[in-house]
Structure formats: C-alpha cells, structure tokens
C-alpha cells in the first residue's frame, strides 16, 4: 500500500526516488531496526534450539547417534502421552478462561471508582513468584483440614449438618467374636433371645471417652426376649490385661447405639449403652439375630476432599494458574482499551446503540489485536508450563499431573541426565506450538493488506 503511494505522488522538494531503490532502502532500514533483536534472538534462543534439535538425535552421553530413536522412545512411553493429554486439557481450559475473565474485569473496571485498587488486587498474584504461588495453593488444598483452607471450609460446612460420631476410629478387637462389616461392628455369630453379645473395642482416644463413663461391667443375664451385653474400651496401658476380657479397669463406653438385626437385615430393636457400657435389647421375638453397632457410632470425622489426589490435582493447578494470569490478561486488555479512541464509542451511543452493542460492534473488534496477543501468549505459556506443575502436586500425584516441560526437566536435569531424550521432548513442545501459529499466518497476512 505504501509503495503505491510513493510512486504516484511526486515527492515534494526531495529527490525523487525510484520505487525499486525505495523498496531496497526499506529493506535495509528494516534490517537495521531488526538487527539488535535478531542478533540476541538468534544467539540465545535460535542457536540453543538448533543445538537441542541436533542433540535430540543423540543418546544420553552425546556420543551415540540415535537418529529418531529418542522420538520413538518418547512416543512409546505412556508417561509422555499422559503429559500431552494434560497439556491439551490445559490449552483448552486455561487461556480461554484467563482471557475472558481479563476482558470482563477490564471492561467492568471502568465503571467503578475503586478501579486502581481492584487492578492491584487482581494483579498482585502475578507479582508473587511462581514458587510462592505454588506453595500457597499446595497448602490451601492439602488434605488435612487443620492446615488446608479448602478442606477446612468444606469440613466446617459439613460438620454444621452432621455433628460427627461419638467414638471416631473405634475398631473391633481382633479374635474376640466381633468383626468389621461394611463399616459397622457386628457380632460374628448369631445370637438368640436370652443370649449375650459383648463388644471389646480398641482405637478409641482417651479424650473421646466422656467423663460419665464408668468401669465396664459384665451385663446382667438376659431375660426372655432380651439380649444383653457390654461395649467397652478393651485397652489397658502397657498392653496388660486379657484382650477381649473385662477387668483391669477397662472403661465402658456409654451412649453407643446397639441394633438387633434379624435374618432379613432389618433392624428390629435398638438400645443405647449405659454409663458402664452395658445395654439391654428387649422385645425380641424368637429367632436368631445379629447384634451390631452401626457405623454412625464410629465414623471418622469427615476429612474433606482429596484435592491433590490424582483425579483433581490438575484442576487445582489450573485454578492456581488462572488466579495468577487473569491479572496479566486484565492489565494487557486494560492498556488496549485505554489506547482506543473513545469518540467512536461515543458516536455509537449517540446513535442509539446500547452498551452491549457498543461493546460487540466497536470495542471488541478494536481490541482484537490485543486479545490475539493475550490469547496466543497464554496458549504458548500454558504449553510450556513448568513451575506450578512441579511444585503443587505431592509425589503420588505427579505422574497424573505431569506436563511435557516437567517430563523434560525430569529426564534431562532431575538426575536423569539423558539430554538426548530431554531434547526430543523440548522439540516436541515446539512442534505442538506450530498449529496455533499456522492459523495465525492468515491473520497476519490480512492485517498486512489493510
């Protein structure tokens, strides 16, 4: 376009230059403008890329030529596929979310008085180093509800509705005629009315036992239609006493629900233990019953969700990423918005367009160049994501969360010292970027021809 103008309009007062030499001078000028960048890029990025490509054709020591051997090894390793899969999830979810959030924030921000404060709050995570950010999320989402904020909230809410059990963690004493069945503790044998069933339990913390508990006593003999027994903590300090037998000051466990279950599985009668651990189940018709202590007595307190387990950990890491990089999108788009000429939008508003139309028809298209930069940068950034994925997952979840850059690090530097294989992985990463770039060539061409 510019070339046409210079040929048709005579240069005023300056020596006329022919189009050809003008174009040639242009190339020289361009060259000068580009020189510093090209030197640095070529030496510090370009050369290492070539080095890496060459290195990927050799084995770990650098001496044995493998040709495409490393690539074959890479593609036959299930860990590589898992990482590629994870990278794909990342690419689909993270850049779009960050860009949209950034856009929404940047646009809405113009309407509030405290915009600078808001900008600062959203931007601050970018200023925190990746390692510190990783530590924040790792700590917040850890399993232990005493230490991890996420589970603390979940357990807190859960416990509002479900108070928890009397004796969390109680287990039946081994070889004492009782067993664990579907989280309930039941007698191993059937009992008829007039019989008894005792429950020596272990694993109950001393401070779970209420002060009202008394020394466990043997239950009175059952009358007709009754089953009696005792539930007690079968533990003596130092391992003394007879396992499964009363005596030695073992404490009874009060307020334990006891059920009589008939052969069809229905609960026919229920009772609660007294302060000395004894209970009486009455009104039992003849037949045989299983006596059991339902699991509600013993369920361990709810400890929350395993956020960092293999299933959810990638989600947590992506969340951390969005927390950090939405700020990037917002700042970039905000600077793009501020470069727009507001008169166009004003004109549209005066013409009767509402806010949404102004945004859709005028603002958004004008923002397109910035949005492209943000989006593509995020996609590429996400393809080579390393720090967060290396720091957040615990060792047991790392294989399921791993991405290509982590694989590359583990293989080349983390002691693996197989620079050849690591280089192949790095080249894989570059190859994955190409599709996105090719899509954009057309866009660049279109812009050039404007």
């Amino acid at each position: 376009m510019t070339d046409q103008v210079t040929t048709t309009v005579p240069a005023t007062g300056r020596s006329a230059r022919s189009p050809r030499s003008r174009g040639g001078r242009k190339t020289v000028t361009a060259f000068l403008f580009l020189l510093p960048a090209l030197i640095l890029l070529g030496a510090l990025i370009g050369y290492p890329v070539l080095y890496t490509a060459w290195r990927s054709l050799y084995d770990a020591t650098g001496d044995g030529f493998l040709g495409l051997g490393n690539y074959v090894k890479m593609f036959t390793d299930p860990a590589t596929f898992q990482s590629i899969r994870n990278n794909v999830v990342w690419v689909i979810v993270a850049p779009v979310t960050c860009t949209i959030l950034g856009l929404i924030f940047a646009v809405l921000m113009n309407r509030i008085k405290w915009a600078t404060a808001f900008k600062l709050i959203i931007f601050m995570p970018m200023a925190i180093s990746m390692v510190a950010a990783g530590v924040i999320f790792r700590t917040a989402f850890q399993e232990n509800p005493n230490l991890g904020a996420a589970n603390a909230v979940i357990v807190g809410v859960h416990d509002l509705f479900d108070g928890g059990s009397e004796y969390p963690g109680a287990r039946p004493r081994e070889n004492a005629g009782i067993e664990l069945k579907d989280d309930a503790i039941v007698g191993s044998g059937a009992v008829k009315p007039g019989g008894s069933q005792d429950f020596p339990l272990v694993g109950v913390k001393a401070d779970s036992i209420p002060s009202t508990a008394e020394t466990a006593k043997a239950a009175a003999d059952a009358g007709g239609g009754e089953v009696t027994g005792t539930v007690w903590l079968d533990f003596v300090r130092g391992g003394g006493g007879e396992p499964g037998q009363l005596g030695d000051g073992k404490k009874g466990l009060p307020d334990v629900t006891v059920n009589a279950i008939d052969s069809s599985g229905a609960v026919v009668s229920t009772a609660k233990t007294a302060a000395d651990g004894t209970y009486v189940l009455s009104d039992l018709k003849s037949g045989s019953y299983t006596i059991g202590l339902p699991s509600s007595n013993f369920t361990e307190s709810f400890t929350g969700i395993s956020w960092l387990g293999p299933g959810l950990v990638t989600g947590v890491i992506i969340l951390a990423y969005i927390w950090i990089w939405a700020g990037f999108a917002m700042v970039m788009i905000s600077s793009g918005l501020s470069a727009l000429d507001p008169s166009l939008q004003e004109a549209a508003r005066l013409d009767g367009a509402n806010e949404w139309q102004v945004f859709r028809r005028i603002t958004a298209p004008l923002l397109a160049p910035v949005l492209v930069v943000v989006f593509i940068t995020l996609i590429i950034n996400v393809l080579k994501i390393f720090d967060l994925v290396y720091v957040i997952p615990p060792g047991s979840s790392l294989p399921s969360a791993s991405v290509i850059a982590v694989q590359m690090w583990t293989v080349s530097f983390g002691g693996g010292n197989d620079q050849g294989l690591g280089s192949a992985l790095a080249i894989l990463l570059l190859i994955l970027v190409l599709p996105f770039m090719i899509i954009n060539v057309r866009r660049f061409r279109r812009e050039r021809d404007r």
Binding site: L44, P48, F123, F386, E447
Partner: protein, 292 residues
C-alpha cells in the same frame, strides 16, 4: 452523528442484560471477585506473620481467634540479613537494564514488523513468535558454554543478555500488534514530508505506543525480577539476586512457609511499585486520546 434528542436504547436481550448491570451491580460483583481473589494472598500474608511452629500446626485462619501468635520475626530475620538486603541491589542491577533493553530493542523490531514492508516479513514474525515457546531450560547448557567461551559466564552482563533475549519474542509480538493500529495516514504524511523511518519511529510511534510500552515494561520487569533458575546458574555469590538469596534462607527439609511467604512479600514490593508507576500511563493515555 444523528439528530439531537433522546433516543431509546434497543431492547435486545444482550442490551437488557448489559443494562441490568448498572453501577450498583457491577460494584457488588467486582467486590465479590476481589474478595475471592484476595483470600490466597491474605493467607500468604498472615502466614508470613506466624512462626514456623504455628504454621505446621494449624491453618492461618486461626489467627483470628488467637492473635497472640502473630510475629514480625520472619521479616526481621530477612531484613537483618546483609546478604538478603544486598541482593535487592543486584536484582535491580539485573532487572532495570533488562527491561530497558527489551523495551528499546523490542519496539524497534515491533515497528519494523508493523510498518516496514520487506520480503519474508510475515514468516520471520511467525518464527519470532514461535521462539516464545522455547523453555528457558533448553538454553541453559548451550548458553553456559557460549558465555564461558566469551568469558561472561557468572557476570551480570550475561544474565542481562539472557533475560533480554528471552523477553524479546513477547515484546515484539505485543508491540507489533499495538503499532499496527496506528493510523497509516499519519505515517504516510510523515514519509511524504521526508522524515526518515527512525524519525517517524521516535516522534510518532513511540509516544502513541505508550500504554503498550508501559504494560510491557511492567511485565518484563516482573518476570525478570522473579526469575530464579537463570540467576542461580548464571550468577555467583557476589551477584545473587533476591530470588536466590531467599533460596539460601530455606531450611533443608522443612516446608519453609514462614521464610518463603515473608520473602515473597518483601520481594513483591518493588514490582508493585513499578506497576503503580507505569499503570498511570494507561489512564493518562485514555484522557489524552480524547484531546488528540
């Protein structure tokens, strides 16, 4: 421009939704977002005020019920450490030149890609952007060898060059896309007046690119400031930046949340100052645009 008078906005669905977002609703929505966004940072900040013994025991929210556990020790420990304080100067010595170089070199190249036509331009641009995908780790060994043979391995110059090079792909991409939006007529007029490309660059393009350059500066500063890997390998004891200095404060096997959090907040101060200083340029330019 249409005739003056009150015009009713179109009542499309989109229009109604956006109309619903009156000032009040926007304020509430953004306030909720801001709150959620702040929670992890608050958690980190409170952790920086707790002793490592408490951090290992209970979550940071317990300070609300037991404020006595708050302590300034973590900060005192870092600020009292001469090596840590010294590292701040080193970090500035690395970050400021890098940012300046990236802005200068990046805008020169960005302008060339945007407004100077030359053969192979689009493909060269693609190559530059693809370089954005090269992870740092890949360059460590070849560049260490290269610098070693030139003799700048271990010096600040080497670190600065390294960071500058890796900052260029993003800088070029961003600035090129910004400069593209400058009205071609302006540049044409200047060319007709006989101005050289360089003149056009400095007198017209750079000033108009203010917001883009400001945001580039913010992020380049930030990324260089927070880098650890390159610093660890390419500097030595005298030239360590903050990130490496914090690393040396960590106990070998602990979780080190106390040191990391205090270190993170101390380290964050400078980039945030830079952010404040430069983000004015967005707002300023907004006002300036209307009086052009």
């Amino acid at each position: 421009m249409s005739a003056p008078g009150i015009v009713k906005p179109k009542r499309t669905l989109g229009g109604r939704i956006v109309g619903f977002f009156g000032r009040g609703v926007v304020n509430v929505v953004l306030a909720v977002v801001a709150l959620f966004w702040l929670v992890p940072s608050i958690g980190l900040f409170i952790s920086s005020l707790r002793d490592s013994k408490d951090i290992g025991q209970s979550g940071w929210w317990t300070v609300f019920t037991r404020p006595a556990q708050l302590t300034l020790e973590n900060y005192a420990g870092l600020l009292g450490n001469a090596q840590f304080l010294g590292s701040f100067w080193n970090t500035i010595a690395i970050t400021v030149p890098t940012t300046a170089l990236v802005v200068i070199i990046g805008s020169l190249a960005g302008y060339a890609f945007a407004w100077i036509t030359f053969p192979g331009r689009d493909w060269l641009l693609i190559v530059v952007i693809v370089l954005l995908a090269v992870p740092l780790q890949v360059s460590l060994i070849p560049i260490a060898k290269l610098f070693g043979s030139i003799g700048i391995f271990g010096s600040l110059v080497g670190v600065i060059i390294f960071h500058t090079a890796f900052g260029l792909p993003f800088a070029i991409f961003l600035l090129r896309n910004f400069f593209i939006q400058i009205p071609g007529e302006l540049l044409e007029a200047a060319r007709l007046d006989g101005a050289s490309e360089f003149r056009i660059f400095t007198r017209i393009v750079l000033p108009l690119g203010g917001p883009a350059i400001a945001s580039l500066a913010i992020f380049q500063f930030l990324w260089t400031w927070n880098d650890m890997l390159v610093a660890l390998i390419f500097t030595n004891a005298g030239s360590q930046p903050v990130t490496v200095a914090i690393q040396s404060q960590l106990r070998q096997f602990g979780a080190n949340v106390d040191v990391l959090s205090a270190g993170a907040f101390l380290s964050m101060i400078v980039p945030l100052i830079v952010f404040f200083a430069f983000q004015r340029y967005f707002v300023t330019a907004l006002l300036q645009g209307s009086t052009k």
